[in-house]
Symmetry: C2
Subunit: 224 residues, 2 copies
């Protein structure tokens, strides 16, 4: 038995899927509270009750959107993982950064929605995403941050969070940062890639003073 989300992902031309895609765009731009069901309905050019017929209440649609983007992100990450597998770390990181920025600039709602989730308190409480810890661990493994593949250290997870958020920030912040820096789209993208590599690569692949960076495969987090 397929869930509504699975159905929508299977049949991308269905009304269910069209609504989901529109909801993704609108929620991505305005956040949960900033989005009205009418805005989504207008985007699809359907009546609001058609939307309710397919997805039930607003919160359920929102949850479906979140699950949907994490599905996409997971797919993309495993695609990246296949390509970088076995390469040296610095190259792995640079390739990942290039591929992920490309992908996220094409799908900025993903970054938006993920950051919204992290930072916003929704007025109606919501279950915690099971996807996130999974995703984090996958990336940590893919970066070889942990020797023990089944038990990813807190330190490694924090590092992955920092990396991914730094990327998301530049994607989601484009609307604010680009006018501020007075850059064309293309320039902005280039600068983002450069900056990400400049900041992120040295910590993991560069030579750093050893008292600063802990060995990446160290598992224990709290000293003493």
């Amino acid at each position: 038995m397929a869930t509504p989300l699975e159905k929508a992902r299977m049949a991308p031309d269905s009304m269910k899927a069209k609504i989901l895609k529109a909801a993704r765009r609108v929620f991505g731009q305005y956040g949960f509270h900033g989005t009205t069901t009418r805005m989504i309905a207008k985007e699809v050019e359907i009546d609001i009750s058609t939307l309710y017929y397919h997805w039930g209440e607003k919160g359920d649609l929102y949850e479906a959107v979140i699950r949907d983007i994490y599905e996409d992100l997971k797919l993309k990450l495993s695609e990246v993982e296949k390509i970088i597998h076995g390469r040296p770390l610095a190259e792995r990181m640079e390739t990942s950064i290039d591929m992920m920025t490309d992908y996220l600039f094409d799908n900025p709602e993903i970054s938006n929605l993920i950051l919204f989730r992290y930072f916003t308190k929704t007025r109606h409480p919501t279950g915690h995403d099971i996807h996130v810890p999974e995703l984090i661990s996958d990336v940590a493994r893919s970066m070889n941050l942990s020797e023990d593949k089944s038990r990813i250290s807190t330190r490694a997870r924090m590092q992955v969070l920092a990396i991914m958020n730094t990327i998301h920030n530049f994607i989601s912040g484009e609307g604010f940062f680009r006018p501020m820096l007075d850059l064309e789209k293309k320039e902005y993208v280039t600068h983002v890639r450069e900056t990400l590599k400049f900041i992120l690569v040295p910590a993991f692949a560069g030579k750093q003073p050893c008292e600063l960076g802990a060995p990446p495969d160290e598992a224990a987090a709290t000293p003493g």
Copy 2:
């Protein structure tokens, strides 16, 4: 002639100031659209119309809150600047990270509101913050990222943005990340500081491959 915000900052016991402070908390947690004027009024335990009497419409109060947090942030940054002035770069960065995380963990609405601004499209349009470019440039100067103190390169600004956002992320994301990582508050704070230093310091103070990091004082951003 003092603006309403200046008045409120001058007289911190006034009703105006009390409302501003409450608005800061609530807007910081729920964002602009997620916050109702009634929520703020309830927080101060006043009638909603008292709120309107002092601050006018919701959007104006919100703008005042934004200006208010940037004032505070500017003060804090110049306090930090005084302390780290003249020290070597790695030490400057570590001290700044420690001081800023302490400060922001005590005032998480600051991080929340700043990130909200960057990422959210408000349904009613809003003027761009003049504070941000200023702040960015100040930090860039303080980090010696630019030789020409009057003209900060795009590259330097992007780097500052990356740094500051990485910090804000962990502050704002605490409510999401800490349960996910199953950490006590104190552990979380320690991990945040460690991770920030691990990621941020090597890029600027460590030895990195020279083709990656451009010389920090290079002004021109676009090659050719």
